[in-house]
Point group: C2
Chain length 566, copies 2
């Protein structure tokens, strides 16, 4: 359904200023964050993130938002604003820039991380990247952005105040309130408060932890646990952590320094991100604390900390290979302490468990968040969300970034502060609001969707292909090939049978003979007829085999009956 006609009517009805706000992704799901602010002749996009594939998305590498809405309005698009450098906010930017050449605005680290992506996609040269300076406002058509530093599990993240003809929108970014972060800036509560005093039309706020009561702990609160663990470690320490978690990395470096351990950053993304963070001055590390892979042999074990990727059990990660004892330079030996300094992201538990068990098998001691407080979230919990509401005093609250359950819980926090239902705009992907002098109204939804990226293919794997993969994955494939002479009405060759992922053929000769019989019987019956509808006959064979296999094995392989008529 195309919402355009409806929209135009309204344009004619109301001549005064308006701003439309709509969501391309990230509301009703984790990841895929992207939203749009639009006026009659300007459009601004905020974030363009990816989502990691769900289990049923077989073979899919990543998911990006459907940008059709932007494609159809390419001439209006004035800017892409990036709030921080996490994959779920910048991961889809290269795919967007491939189609639409629009100016991108971000903080130094965010753009540095984006540049690495654009290089991989050979898009760096043609891209127009602009640095955000929190001390200077950014004017894009009718939109005036003032960026507000926020604390998160990556540094250099921002929220923003967006002043428009109809009022001021506040976007929290991904944030937590931590007065003592180990790196990066403290969430600028005063700025949020200033806007609160001046009057805020709508607050768009991070709902990731809306289910968590209380306050999210400070990054520093885990320092003591980490430090004790590392101090008591008799040998080498291997810490697995997200390579973009600069505050955590800074904390580990500090602990290492105290305890006279040198630090080896290991794994491609780890080395890249650490390099960028150090160049930009976000990560402080004296050169004498660095060590090389070569020094793994020369240095005594108790002077070594290896910081690597793989805290989510990623199959290709350094840690996964170390756990399988398949890593060239790093072989686990008893005395090694491995710390997984991150949470178990839902869907990854089994992979992480396998890594942990493999490490124990090799004789390492392993510590993870289930058994020690070695991780804190980067997202605000309920009390912090309430605090932001209290400071900004918005007319409307729009919970963003989260599954529906998180958005609902976040809206309830607004109610607990005395907001009424009309002020709580519960939205999911595709929802669109119009803001004007009267306030907010819901417009017809826009079409949104998810695009699958598989290898170099973007969007060419759709539901049909996925259904086939699911079918093949569940019961495999059975292929039957016969060749018939259409003129002499004779079977020339076959049935040749091929099965893949269905049964272990060597043990199923009886079944294969029976299948051959079923096919021959249908073919010969058909050849006896005056005319043959070969397509129909293929369907008959498919049906017969399907029935036979299910009766015998209760399996439904994909059946491909091929009749070659010559």
């Amino acid at each position: 359904m195309n919402p355009e006609p409806h929209l135009h009517q309204q344009l004619n009805q109301e001549q005064e200023a308006w701003v439309d706000l709509m969501f391309l992704g990230g509301l009703g799901e984790i990841g895929l964050n992207s939203m749009v602010f639009e006026t009659s002749d300007h459009l601004v996009v905020v974030d363009a993130g990816i989502m990691f594939p769900e289990d049923y998305m077989l073979g899919i590498d990543m998911v990006i938002p459907d940008f059709s809405y932007l494609r159809e309005r390419r001439d209006k698009i004035a800017a892409l604003i990036l709030t921080h450098g996490h994959e779920d906010h910048i991961g889809a930017v290269p795919f967007l820039l491939k189609e639409l050449n629009l100016p991108v605005y971000g903080t130094p680290l965010t753009l540095a991380l984006l540049r690495e992506k654009l290089k991989e996609h050979h898009l760096l040269e043609q891209s127009e990247l602009h640095l955000i300076d929190p001390r200077r406002q950014l004017v894009v058509g009718p939109f005036v952005f003032n960026f507000i530093p926020v604390t998160h599990s990556i540094v250099d993240g921002v929220g923003f105040a967006l002043t428009t003809p109809v009022g001021t929108f506040i976007h929290s970014g991904d944030f937590k309130i931590d007065a003592t972060p180990t790196a990066g800036e403290v969430t600028d509560l005063n700025s949020f408060a200033d806007y609160g005093n001046k009057g805020v039309l709508a607050l768009l706020s991070d709902s990731t932890n809306a289910e968590r009561p209380g306050y999210t702990l400070s990054e520093r609160d885990i320092g003591c646990t980490l430090e004790n663990l590392i101090r008591e470690a008799p040998g080498r320490v291997i810490v697995a952590v997200f390579s973009s978690h600069i505050p955590r990395l800074q904390q580990i470096i500090a602990i290492a320094a105290k305890q006279g351990r040198k630090v080896l950053f290991h794994g491609r993304s780890m080395v890249t991100n650490v390099g960028l963070a150090r160049q930009l001055g976000f990560l402080q590390m004296p050169p004498e604390q660095e060590m090389t892979t070569a020094q793994l042999k020369s240095l005594p074990d108790h002077e070594i900390i290896i910081v690597t990727t793989g805290s989510q059990g990623e199959a290709m990660s350094a840690l996964a290979r170390i756990a399988l004892d398949a890593h060239k330079q790093i072989r686990i030996r008893s005395g090694d302490l491995v710390i997984l300094s991150s949470k178990f992201i839902p869907g990854n538990e089994k992979a992480i468990s396998t890594v942990i068990n493999n490490l124990y098998r090799l004789g390492a001691e392993v510590v993870y968040h289930e058994v020690a407080d070695i991780h804190v979230s980067g997202h605000a919990s309920q009390e912090e969300l309430k605090l932001l509401l209290q400071l900004t005093k918005p007319r409307y609250l729009i919970p963003i970034h989260g599954e529906l359950r998180h958005l609902v819980k976040h809206a309830r926090l607004g109610r607990s502060l005395g907001m009424i239902d009309a002020q709580l705009l519960l939205a999911t992907n595709g929802d669109r609001f119009r803001f004007d002098v009267q306030g907010a109204q819901r417009l017809t939804r826009i079409e949104v969707g998810r695009i699958f990226v598989d290898g170099k293919g973007v969007g060419d794997v759709g539901n049909i292909v996925l259904r086939d993969r699911q079918h093949l994955a569940a019961d495999g494939l059975f292929l039957a090939l016969v060749a018939v002479d259409a003129t002499s009405k004779r079977l020339i060759s076959g049935p040749d049978l091929i099965s893949k992922g269905f049964v272990f053929e060597a043990e199923q000769s009886d079944m294969l003979d029976a299948a051959r019989e079923i096919i021959l019987e249908i073919i010969s019956r058909a050849l006896a007829e005056p005319t043959q509808d070969w397509l129909e006959i293929q369907i008959q064979i498919g049906k017969a085999l399907r029935k036979y296999f299910f009766k015998l094995l209760e399996r439904r392989p994909m059946i491909l009956p091929l009749i070659l008529t010559l």
Copy 2:
């Protein structure tokens, strides 16, 4: 490797009594529990459980232990002892009984649940089932079993003391220590203590929660939370819980009674298990509290509690269908409260999240363990495990039931009580210990494994088939068919191309044309030669297409080049 020769040597060396203990499953993994006690002429099996398939086991319904070791000793097998009725302890019994007709011993509920399984497998008539009576000892050859009631998340569970010529083994069963369970018996600590005083050779103890400090809460501790939630619910209450969790069901019935709500048990396994538990007197419910599906329409909402399955987001469960608004009798309306009274089992989080979000979408309020204390574990935490060690004072501790990380942590608890490494027997599947007057020694491992059950096929899906399914799942299939006249050296037909789960063909005509070219070129080159090795030519085509597709799409579909020579 076949351990037999080695074993025989040792038999000749030592003539005095010995008992071998070995593990077919459940040590180094969750589920698949099965172990063996063996003397020179008797063998007893304890439990025969299933494991639910891992993500990589595509299309597999369940996993059972490899019973080869038992098959080879069928004449020695004197009994199968079942500790309780959970799938990971009795699920594989039908598969075992199909091959080996051995007497099975279990408590009333355990056997009742087993009977349901045996019926489905048409094995009930020929099976020899014996009731365990905790007050009477069971003598099987040299083995004397005394069963000890234990509290767990199912009722009628037991551990046991096994007296043998070489000493007494204690098996904890799946247990927790709960002085106030809502159904079933209290763990009989006094019996454990008695054996401790008499002297215990080895304690085999449940390691599932060995990572959890402190004590597991009593089942009663969640009653208050559940009661408040249900009292404040304005409309219907739907509770999703494991159908075998009789103590939880009893608790819900009690709360319903207090608040004047009738209870509808819904879902096949729920109805069956509740029926069995009531027959056997484990579940008390006055008839007037029952309601029928028909009464869903007639009764006022605030008088209804629906107890159903699907707390793990199982796709076919009643709750999943309710959440999709695809359930005939039960349509969610605002005011409904849904309680998921169970933990999120690793691997199921995403499915559960989807159900929760769908329920919110339909207007229900949803409560789950992340947001309220509505579930307690059925397994002992560290302090309880230490308590059992303290009471039984075993010479050896053998942690059972758990991933390696759990077994390791459990062994450490033993060390914390002053046991030395020689007393802590850390074992995984396949490990075998010999116990004699000197004590325990490790023998060569036995061969163990996992058998995949797919539909009616047991063990016919092996790693080759799984690898093919993984390959097909990731990138699908590409099939190229040509027919050539071997005598006239002419191409008669093709190339015909078929792809499944690879690309959306309609959008890939250029690629398909190119593939056709690649094939034709190889074929024509081959036909120009004096002789043709068609197998080799198929391999060439496969290679060429593989290279082309990867360059173009970075995908590796399974490629089936078929050359029909006529």
